[in-house]
């Protein structure tokens, strides 16, 4: 399948001399939810801004729907809706006016029915004549989403969509995101919350210091997450795994003093009791037993540490 967004060797060096993006290459598939995960200052906003045309890349190429974002900006930008990180609004404008303005700006014929539908889907309909400054932060965030959706984009960027957002809006937002994805919209969101990426994304990319250090299907990551280890501290060092136990996923560590069994918690039979039976019949004694689990959090933390 042709990627909907193709980023190739993109670098961004700000005027200050700071390199915010370092050789980023990434393909986004149509109708996926991609979570860009990274600590503050990692370059998430810079990457999004570059794709959307707010920041110029210093080098490299980005295509959207097969068109270059610089030479083909008309086509690429029409496809994109952006909900920026900062809540920037025209205080004196009404909700209706500002959302209609966005639609026009993105080259779409006025369509009050569609705007009405969008406002209703974001529980903004009764606020349509309110001025932006009369709205709460959460409501403003909803308006920003409505603006981004006003021109029926096929790609939606959400830059830290849940920062400072209440539980209700968060729930609504994820529901909307899934709905949009089912309608064929590609969604790229940034977050520094792992649980968020876990909850909603199909794929996860980890960015740190302007470098993309991991891109992985969430399912694959979760698979690693489902893996648990049983660690046995042996009484006597073991030279080799006995032939009766080669069916188990075993490793010898710590000069034969530790036997490590990796198993999948999601399986019906973990194989632990069978292993323990085999151990006793082989007369292998152990002093202690413990389990260990790597979470996405661990994976993330170790990745982020490794790259510094």
């Amino acid at each position: 399948m042709q990627p909907i967004i193709q980023i190739t060797d993109v670098n961004k060096i700000y005027d200050s001399g700071f390199q915010a993006l370092n050789d980023i290459s990434l393909s986004i598939k149509p109708a996926e939810i991609f979570a860009l995960l990274g600590p503050n200052g990692a370059g998430k906003t810079t990457l999004i801004s570059t794709i959307c045309g707010i920041v110029n890349a210093s080098s490299g190429q980005i295509t959207v729907d097969g068109k270059d974002i610089v030479s083909g900006y008309r086509h690429t930008r029409e496809l994109i809706g952006l909900v920026p990180q900062e809540l920037t609004t025209d205080a004196f404008e009404t909700v209706w006016a500002t959302v209609s303005f966005s639609r026009g700006l993105f080259g779409k014929k006025p369509n009050p029915t569609f705007i009405e539908k969008t406002l209703k889907s974001l529980s903004l309909w009764d606020k349509k004549d309110s001025r932006m400054m009369e709205l709460s932060g959460g409501m403003k965030r909803r308006v920003m989403i409505a603006k981004a959706l006003s021109h029926e984009p096929s790609i939606l960027f959400l830059d830290e969509p849940t920062a400072g957002v209440d539980v209700e809006l968060r729930k609504d937002m994820w529901q909307l995101v899934r709905q949009l994805r089912n309608d064929g919209v590609t969604i790229i969101l940034t977050t520094h919350y792992i649980e968020e990426a876990e909850e909603i994304a199909d794929r996860i990319g980890v960015i740190k210091n302007g470098q993309l250090i991991l891109v992985e299907d969430k399912a694959a990551l979760m698979n690693q997450l489902g893996k648990k280890q049983l660690i046995l501290d042996l009484k006597e060092p073991l030279v080799a795994i006995p032939s009766t136990m080669t069916d188990f996923n075993l490793q010898i560590k710590n000069e034969g003093l530790q036997l490590i069994y990796s198993y999948d918690t999601t399986k019906e039979h973990t194989g632990i009791s069978a292993l323990l039976q085999q151990l006793s019949s082989a007369n292998i004694g152990f002093k202690d037993i413990k389990t260990d689990q790597s979470s996405l959090e661990d994976i993330f933390v170790s990745l982020v540490k490794e790259s510094t």
Binding site: Y14, I54, V55, Y73, R74, R77, L82, F101, F106, G107
Partner: protein, 253 residues
């Protein structure tokens, strides 16, 4: 051409005028009326005619120009500066619009507003002094071209400015003196020779002269000269805007 975008920006800017009706329309009308009362009626009664025109009527074109220039500049500069200030410029930068379309929206709205304002002031002036317009088409032509030129100039200032002071400094310290010293309240022939020469360096002088000619058929300089100076300034502003858009100056990082 993304004409929906041009229309959206234009509409947005015109809506801003409606919201700030007092500031945009009423306050220039009041201040212009004050000029008429002070200069036209009070002082003007002591001054006889200039070039066969009563003093009250003589100052009308200059006063309209004063409003036209300052309002064109402030409307256009505010229009584009404000999104930069609030951060809503992100939307403009990420939209499928060309620089020309952005320009058409902002400059078009700013020029429309200042032309409307000029016509309102003209109507106001009619209350104070009897007016006749010898060349109405030329009058409109001058009005439109001046409004567009100075709206462009304002747009440039709005892009260049990174704080409110810069936004206001040019209209205040450059435009107002140029209009006052450009023959709004006197004919250049009334000045000593040295100041006549200085006045000829003032581009606004040619504007006012041409504009006044469209009213009364009398001018300090020939119509052609006025026309050339205006075209020159318009060309200068267009070139500056082109350069700004090419270099992305102060808008994009």
């Amino acid at each position: 051409m993304n004409h929906y975008a041009v229309a959206a920006i234009y509409k947005f800017e015109m809506a801003r005028t409606k919201r700030t009706l007092f500031q945009s329309i009423i306050s220039p009308v009041i201040s212009t009326s004050l000029y008429f009362i002070v200069f036209g009626s009070a002082i003007g009664s002591r001054i006889t005619e200039i070039d066969g025109v009563s003093y009250g009527a003589f100052i009308v074109p200059g006063l309209i120009m004063l409003s036209l220039l300052t309002q064109s500049i402030s409307n256009a500069s505010f229009g584009i500066y404000f999104p930069k200030f609030t951060g809503t410029i992100y939307e403009l930068l990420s939209a499928p619009v060309s620089s020309i379309e952005v320009l058409l929206g902002y400059v078009g709205a700013a020029a429309t507003k200042s032309i409307l304002l000029a016509l309102i002031i003209l109507a106001t002036a009619h209350f104070f002094v009897p007016l006749e317009i010898a060349h109405p088409l030329w009058m409109l032509f001058f009005l439109v071209v001046t409004a567009i030129t100075f709206s462009l100039f304002g747009f440039i200032i709005g892009i260049w400015a990174d704080n409110f002071e810069k936004l206001q400094v040019i209209p205040l310290i450059v435009i107002t003196p140029l209009v006052f010293l450009g023959g709004t309240f006197y004919s250049v022939s009334m000045l000593p020779p040295f100041w006549q020469t200085v006045t000829q360096l003032n581009p606004v002088f040619y504007l006012i002269s041409g504009f006044r000619w469209s009213f009364y058929g009398v001018a300090d300089v020939s119509l052609i000269t006025s026309f050339m100076v205006m075209s020159g300034f318009l060309a200068f502003c267009l070139l500056a805007v082109t350069w700004i858009f090419k270099s992305g100056y102060q808008i994009k990082q």
